[in-house]
Symmetry: D2
Subunit: 429 residues, 4 copies
């Protein structure tokens, strides 16, 4: 008799009973299972899991509820960046040690059923800013409604797209050594300013005890320890070699992430869930930010870091990324607006590609700020197309045409504007 | 100043408060908002919606809980088919009339969080049977666990795939005229047996008052009316021109369905939710059957049936169907096992393609019944490849290779079996 | 030092010097390397190849030049079907024996550079007919121009699509035994008429010496042998277990086909190249028929038929099938136009789906015959969606919206026809 | 009677008779229709086309035959970069003026049938170098054989992928003004060195009369004019706002490119055809370089630049880009190997992602240089994933797993290396 191929089930009722729940009626700083907003090896774990367990984690939005579902951008303008990002965890994974690779299956990600909306913001140049702050210095806000798999916005008409939902932040706690590396290099940058591109921009955010949230460790319980960690703990804004705020849109539903482990028990944290995001997340608060859940399955490759020469996250994207077949692709090169030539500067080349897309799409009646938000939030592809043809880097931004309910081709743009010129379509108000 | 492209939001808290809820702790016949299992214009609507409203509908599995999450197929063997399918609705759509087209957006579909599993069954030849009953006459059952977007089974090892989740049944209530057409033609078939392929098979299921469930209309309230409807109401098993039990796997998340309307208010019903299904749903209870929810948005095209010559459902599939790039495709022609030639018989050709796939996959250690269930449940593509080359129809079954955790190519099959022959791999038990 | 992963090259100048060339200035019956149009084990091989060789084969169109690039359908009406299909081969593969599987890589397929056009025909009901002969009994012809990867037609406006180019026919010569099986079962069908669907249709085409073409074997060289083979040789019209006229559109560029071998040396033949075809090839001469080339790589799995239980072709489709993300899907069930119920008849259900698509698309100004040809030629997906819900089979036809230069959604159809009604768009001539 | 939707054909025998042919038996400097290797408004057009014409252009490889199909990298080491890139054109488009947009359909691209091979090179650090010259300073060469749609290499085992074939260079001649802008900004860069990343690298290539090739304008015919143009003409290496050496892999078969026009008649030139390329073309001579043909259809949008605010190329990618569903994605951040923090430097982040991929893949037995070449040539996706999370840019490199004939997952890497450790697989030579 043939052997029946057989597998053991590991499923539990993860969807009904999350391992970490959040309560949106409580403050982000006052959750039953406390959150944290700094990276440090000594922030205590809040839960523990075994290998091959399946469980659900809920997360508040990255600002912890500072942004409201309304039509004013004042909350975005005044957001307090010392408080972010609010992360769920750390999660201890049994029998895990430094040098291991955590194999994290992102089985599902989605919004909380009680909160079917999200936001995209342009941060004020004086409070965080974004990729195009030189052009769009003022705060703006776009609210998105979730309609099943789709997002639509009352602030950007005639656009609808399926979510490529993902956690902006996922990573294990750093070791002391690694944390020291981070703090040193970022402090050096601030001190030297040698690579500064934007004069008004914040170069980096050093540790800052103000509004530090350290999970189960409360200030009143152990003031010395709390202050030590708060003053050493790395801020959550940049991605780093552990992952962290990667903002990689493809760590989406069904994907697998291999994460370096630096401390015993791994201490995995995650948060900053995005309903959708374009490559670059260009307006900084650029994804569709939301509260949500993540379903996880975790396994471990022992000593995987050295056995596979892996120092940074490795990802296998999932099988249900939204599928588009028509794109409009904009080219940018590393020459700035004053015709100054920069050497193989992909950052600048991508900025120019973004600017080309924005200028073009205004011909359909959108404002530049609307498109800036849209490119940050929609599933655009931002590619380094060529990076060897001195002195120009060439980057491209590919926009899926199908997210618009109308034709965005140049031929259609010409027709649309001829109608506007003939007074058949209102473009101004 | 440029006009802001603007849209009004229609989102409500559909995900938290379904318009129709089901309670899996109650019997399917005893839900708070009663279900129904027959098609008839006079089954009263249970809820009413306006155009452009977004709402959630929950559904029990098609058998109404007759099948259990265990390792015995006795429940499948003894399932009572007079009781199926349990449908949610009818939903009245305001300002809708016969001849209109209902524009139904399937915004999302998924399992209930309290019931993260489903089942696939081979029905016993003497109780419903299936597409391959001549080969596999006995009842079998496969239980699937849902792990986020994925299904896995303890009964079929080394297989995992993302759901292409959809309602097996969706359609509006028939008019009296249409109902009469249905009943007449199906009765004629039974009487004439002229197109019978399988001697033991049920040709069609005529109206049957036994176990009829008519929503809000209870037998005790109006016995005459109840009996009239129960004896006229069409069974839910076949798909018909209104849609109904289409079992079209592509009516999935993000799709749009245009449905003919035959009665005032449309009276939309749906149910039979599948986590996944292969083209053909070949084992009859062939999809991954489950309880679940559907999020809907409804609009109407007035007089759309005559204006567009539409008599049957029209579908725009959604953008997040799982994406595969490697398939193994099996050919079948309309010659039966006794080398008898049939004339352009696509049904037979597809049966032969299914049989070819089953025979082939046993070389990896599965039983034929396991593959039969897998082909019914996994997202296989069943195509009518050529239907004009007399006398043979040619159908193909395309199996996405990536749902297996091992290589299913012929080259790999040869290697696998050489290892079995050398005793390096156990294939028998 | 690490081992360099290394591979030996097998490439030769196959693209410059085809192994079998055709000359379109010569008659199909008078090629330098002679063609053949019957299946028989004794038709002599014209060339021989070794395993792992790469070579190019050229083929004339299936009618051998009977159809002209003009605007008259007279040639389609009067086509001589005793002469078809003209095949290139047989190709002998060294060291190959009955029971082996030929592993054929279709490395590339395309038109001949001297003949960048193709044709789609509706055959006259009295001369071959097609899937919808009851509706469209008269001959029609559509000429397609090849513009790089695209086909366009002066006979069907506003449509352009990329080719899914493939050989309609590929297969090895049958053994005597297999040939006998074929001839017997097809003759039995003709004698019994038991499965006849269409009274006027040809049920099957028995061997016919008229216009038989047997490659290197000329009538004058050996009259007895020639007559024997011509009177035994199977016609090329139906697909059979060896493959043959599969008309599977997915045997396209980059695909791999596993073919059963029945005679020593395999004797592979191929032809009937299609620039594109829809599932079903519904108008019989339904693909975009052309002369063309195929680049092949051949390997062998010894005794593969029994080792893998393979009796029919197995296919791995290629990686560059044109990619579409928007479809319009039409449903059909097995009820005929007189409301007569047929039992799980997928052929009828697909016919009804085709009819629904044709009726619908006439609302954009096309004639029914234009759409019939378009559905035959464009890359439509024809699926057996459900085949177990007695008594109805449910088939679907999915049409990629993007092959049209305008929006084919119902919403757009309504707008288009409102304009026609207001006299803003001319629909009649 | 319904109006037949009708279209006029524009197809001519472009595939048999190219508008511009090349002869690989002649030197690149001695073609019948002369080539050119500089950008200048006064290089005379060699052919003229009308709008909506379809025609074929042939091109030599970018080096003009300096690289041979053999196993030595000496030719790559000694390549003469003053001679490149050899371009076909300029093509004059009738009735085209500055400010127009040229609408160029890339109907098809492919290798010449007489030259079914290509090469990828690592340039020597002292002669051009590449993106990873600091790590791989020495010249290397990989030869690829074309097998239909696929490339394979005797120098990199177990890899095969379909071509995403495209012209690396496409663009119209600059105006005098634009040319002046180019020359000024690139000269300024050289003078200031302010953005220099690599001390040994060439910052930019100013005009250089050595080996200048100016099409029909021969030195002996008009020495003064020749010297003027040769000393003003921009080198072809960088992409610029006209397009030029974009090296955008998605300008492939079936794509449409909108190109700015700066001079009367447009003067379109193209060349540098790639069988395939990864995003970034990281090894500089990184694509699979080849001689080949391009089939074009050209139309014009009058005054399109100002009407649509378009200053740089805009692209609609084609429908037959190879389709993959499994990727392995590597993350890189803008921290260099000495742990020095750079500010939002996408170039560095992508370099680190490339390095991570190279280190990882050596675990399957490849050398680092082999992987460097592979990443340059295979269809990898290089994305700017986040560019706002100060101070780190995060770039990703996504490698399609299916181009390998074995499993490249970390789980498989572990198994492979366990076998190597046990001596079951040879990894060293």
């Amino acid at each position: 008799m043939l052997h029946f191929r057989r597998a053991l089930s590991t499923t539990v009722s993860y969807a009904s009973k999350p391992l970490i729940s959040v309560d949106l009626n409580r403050s982000a700083t006052d959750q039953i299972i406390p959150l944290h907003n700094r990276w440090h090896p000594d922030i205590p774990s809040v839960v523990s899991v075994r290998r091959n367990e399946i469980f659900r984690i809920e997360c508040v939005d990255w600002t912890g509820g500072q942004i409201q579902n309304n039509d004013s951008a004042d909350d975005v303008k005044n957001v307090d960046l010392t408080r972010i990002h609010y992360l769920s965890g750390p999660i201890e994974v049994e029998d895990t040690h430094p040098g291991d690779l955590l194999v994290v299956d992102i089985l599902d990600v989605g919004p909380l059923s009680s909160s079917m909306w999200g936001f995209t913001g342009i941060f004020d140049r004086k409070n965080g800013g974004g990729f195009l702050s030189d052009y769009y210095p003022h705060a703006r806000k776009v609210i998105w409604d979730f309609q099943g798999i789709y997002a639509t916005s009352r602030h950007i008409k005639d656009v609808r797209f399926a979510g490529l939902t993902h956690p902006g932040i996922i990573g294990c706690a750093p070791s002391y050594d690694l944390l020291h590396h981070w703090n040193k290099r970022e402090k050096d940058l601030i001190n030297q300013c040698s690579h500064l591109h934007h004069k008004d921009a914040v170069l980096a955010n050093p540790p800052n005890e103000k509004n530090a949230l350290l999970g189960q460790l409360k200030y009143q319980d152990n003031k010395d320890l709390w202050k030590k960690i708060a003053n050493e703990g790395a801020r959550t804004i940049p991605p780093r070699e552990h992952g962290g705020n990667n903002d990689i849109k493809n760590i989406s539903r069904g994907s697998r992430v291999y994460l370096p482990v630096y401390v015993k028990g791994a201490k995995l944290s995650l948060g900053d869930i995005h309903f959708s995001q374009g490559d670059g997340e260009i307006s900084f608060c650029g994804a569709i930010e939301m509260s949500g859940y993540i379903d996880l399955h975790i396994d471990v490759i022992k000593n995987g870091m050295s056995r596979l020469s892996i120092t940074n996250p490795l990802i296998q994207p999932g099988p249900i990324e939204p599928r588009y077949s028509k794109y409009l692709t904009f080219q940018g090169i590393s020459v700035d607006d004053e015709n100054k030539q920069h050497f193989l500067d992909a950052t600048l080349a991508y900025r120019q590609a973004c600017r080309a897309a924005i200028r073009y799409l205004t011909h359909f009646g959108y404002s530049e700020e609307q498109i800036y938000c849209l490119l940050a939030a929609a599933p655009i592809e931002g590619r380094i197309s060529s990076i060897v043809d001195v002195p120009n880097a060439c980057c491209t931004l590919s926009l899926p045409s199908e997210i618009f309910s109308f034709d965005i081709s140049p031929e259609a743009a010409i027709k649309f504007n001829e109608k506007v010129d003939r007074g058949q379509v209102a473009k101004t108000s």
